[in-house]
Assembly symmetry: C2
Homo-oligomer: 147 residues x 2
């Protein structure tokens, strides 16, 4: 006669979310600390990188890539435009507000690179090599499944 396992034991032992969220908090803290002297956060750096990479990109495509709600991106872009790091360019479809990185944004990116290097190395050490591969394949699966 064994007593049933309490719900909290099962969830604590198996929950993916709690582990993912812990790692997310720790990593965000490390990147944000490193980036603080640049005035940018890791969330904003990821948006800046996506924009620089795609040259000229609609908010909706950044949302798709980063799996971010459009309203979240909108507020982040608002702050980044206020800093002069991003700008909006006209589009044939007048609903669209394509984004482009500004020269000031490019300079910020160059200045932030060493801070990113340091944070990346620190988080890599904390998470272990297998974690990058796991996250990368998870992201690929997410992007494939959203077709």
């Amino acid at each position: 006669m064994s007593s049933p396992i309490p719900i909290e034991d099962t969830i604590a032992q198996e929950c993916l979310a709690v582990r993912l969220r812990i790692v997310h908090r720790v990593a965000t803290r490390i990147y944000d600390d490193a980036l603080r002297p640049t005035g940018m956060t890791i969330s904003q750096l990821n948006i800046l990188v996506a924009t620089a990479l795609l040259k000229r990109v609609r908010p909706a495509e950044v949302c798709e890539r980063l799996q971010m709600d459009a309203s979240t991106l909108s507020r982040n872009v608002e702050r980044m435009k206020a800093h002069g790091w991003l700008e909006t360019v006209p589009d044939e479809d007048r609903r669209a507000q394509p984004l482009r990185i500004t020269p000031k944004g490019r300079r910020l990116l160059a200045r932030a690179k060493p801070a990113w290097d340091a944070a990346q190395a620190q988080v890599q050490g904390l998470l272990g090599a297998e974690t990058f591969a796991a996250l990368d394949s998870a992201v690929r699966r997410i992007h494939r499944s959203e077709i």
Copy 2:
């Protein structure tokens, strides 16, 4: 003569943070969607589980386990107390405000279990088996390194 690789290419190809944050957003969406009928979020469920597991726990210990800032936990607990899911019990050290799950909180936990099961299965499928192991060992490393 090869041109240098642009900063945005390097960061996009290697950044742990962007991958972690994408997976975090997707997983949070799935758990929160599943839990919505219960009135609880996955962040709150994780706090409820930690409290139930430890019977009677100081906020500072929950913060340590979940790697959450004390002010963040304070606001979350505030909401959960307003719902009647958690309560504060007295402590010898009068600075401390130990937490305990209420009977209402226990009933919520039981009611939320099937929703958690469904979300957990869905996220497991999306992230793949190797991801749980990677995250779990990362969390263990984080907890060990914070001694």
